[in-house]
Amino acid sequence: MLDINPNLRSRYPWIWITISLILIALISLLDVYTGNEIAIETLYLIPILITTWWCGRKLGLWMTAASLASWLGSSYPTIQNYSHPYYFYSEALSHAILWTLFPVLLAKLKDALINANEQFISILRQTDSAVHVFDINSEALLYYNKQCQNMFGADVQLTHARQIDEQLMPSPLEIMHREELSRNEANTITIECKCPATNHWYLVSVRPIKWIGGQMVRLNTMIDITLQKQAKEIIQQQREKLDFGARLLTLGGIASALAHEISQPLAAIVNYNRGGVRRLRSGNIDAAMLLNAMEKSAEQAERAGKIIHRARAMALRRDPEMESLDINEIIANLSSMIELSTQKHNVKFVIALAPSLPPVRADRVMLEQLALNLTRNAVQAMQDIPPELRVLKILTAHDPLTETVELQVIDSGCGMSDEIEKNLFQPFLTTKAEGLGLGLALCRSIAEWHKGRLWATRNPDHGTTFHFSLRAENP
């Protein structure tokens, strides 16, 4: 694994020590050569600071000692007789303090820097995303974290940006290479892409940042979103399946298309008849012509019949698939979809499933359709009551006596009037402005088709409960 050295220490400390020692020697020579006339001692700070920066505080302090020794060695022989006797010692003391203070402070500063870097690196290490760092100019791979290995396997040796880019990205990354990214740190690009090698989906974001040591780098972070993608796809598929089922089963679409298709031959029939009646009334009639019109009228009636036949065939195109189903599982699968609508309408949604249910033999799509229709009805029944009172409850139960499984959809709406209750399952009767009045009629058809029962009861407090019961499958 490529890694970074967060403490910024040199890998070759002896080079810096040697340079520092040479510098000290040169300075002391210079000192002697200039006859100690020029205050040159400040220059000793240079080797001290160099060593401290690259090799740490300890070696820096040793360098301080070496500098002091060198200074003493070069200055002691030339102590001026006419100066104060303590002058030399006080100068030595002040140098000693200054040259000790500097490496100590510099080391502290460096520690703080290292700390910040270490924190940054530990974040990169611990994050769930795979992180790559590339030099923005040379495209060389500077760093990658452990998640990269987990994602792509330890054996994948990736040393160059393009290898990863090519492995991961389709075309979008081409567009936003160096030039696009430029040096603007705010320029983050996030894309979703699929890696053909691993067949996984990744959310990749790329941004330029300033790296440890100050160079500009490109930071790629990748999150594996394959699971989310799959979940989304499954939801989408399920929705499509339900839509498909709804299209076939609710008859809503069929009814509308049928109305349009069938109005054509019906209008023609009316025209032929009215035209005939008018001619007969006026006495201006030719038997052959009338015969022709009546033939055509009959043809149109047959055409209408064919349209209806076709519609019915379309509705039955999907053969029901009977399988062993757990109603609890069906409700659990639908719950996220139901929640969408309850949240939208500010309805509290409660599920109370029986601990275990015997399986029933049924068609999954039909049962899903039934459950969804009932919940949709329940949610709509609560539109006119205050949001805090809206509660939708779905519960399942098993009656061992009758060997039936029951599903209840309970709303807290205003309940049904006698009139509504009487016509509850009548097709084309609706209390909704945009409804076709087919929902409950369809639910009942589904129930009957499964040899089950669907009925409604009034709740003791308020609202309505729809019950759907089905015989448990014989073991």
Partner: protein, 207 residues
């Protein structure tokens, strides 16, 4: 009127419906011509032929609404009766707002439908008559000399010969002569008739 007999044009892509409409409309003694598309109607239609169109709003190719636009662009004022199916009401309303004659939802009541056709044909006859009057009056105005035209404008404005003479700086005698010739050319016997002719002869937007 020497106009040819009015024709009821039916433009509808549904063969059976088109045929049944012909049967119904012919039962009232109208002459019917059918077209299965807007394009075929446009190709065949002679603008001098009076009548009306029974038009399906929804058709493959050029729709009823598009045909309406095209007729307007060509300056054809043939009244249109839109026949709509269920659910076309918003489109039909839009068509009406654009100046369509009528729209009728199918299946429809035959008495009402035939009455609508009757009304549309009558309106077309009226429109054509007005246009003919307009054209002939305009043609007559065109034969006038500049002086006669000036006299016409002032006579229509109700000015007496004396005033006209003063206006134009000519003698009353000359005005009388111009006036007589102008009345003759316009074929008008009275000032009231002349006013009507002048109104017809000048296109509405210039009034």
């Amino acid at each position: 009127m020497t106009d040819p007999a009015a024709i009821v044009y039916i433009v509808d892509d549904d063969d059976a419906f088109r045929d049944s409409l012909r049967w119904l409309i012919e039962s009232n003694g109208y002459v019917v011509e059918t077209h299965s598309s807007a394009e075929s109607f446009l190709a065949a239609y002679d603008p001098h032929q009076p009548g009306c169109i029974v038009l399906d709003i929804r058709m493959p190719g050029m729709s009823g609404i598009e045909l309406q636009d095209e007729l307007e662009r060509r300056g054809i004022t043939l009244p249109i009766i839109f026949v709509t199916g269920h659910g076309d009401v918003p489109t039909a309303v839009a068509a009406i707002k654009k100046g369509a004659a009528e729209f009728i939802e199918k299946p429809f009541n035959d008495t009402k439908f035939l009455a609508v056709i009757e009304g549309a044909l009558a309106r077309d006859v009226e429109t054509r008559r007005a246009r003919t009057r307009q054209l002939s009056a305009a043609a007559r105005v065109a034969t006038l000399s500049r002086r006669e035209r000036e006299v016409l404008e002032r006579a229509v404005a109700g000015k007496a010969n004396k005033i006209i003479a003063e206006d134009l700086g000519i003698s009353i005698k000359t005005v009388e002569a111009h006036r007589a010739r102008m009345m003759m050319k316009m074929g008008a016997d009275s000032i009231a008739e002349l006013v009507q002719l002048a109104l017809d002869g000048i296109p509405p937007q210039h009034r």
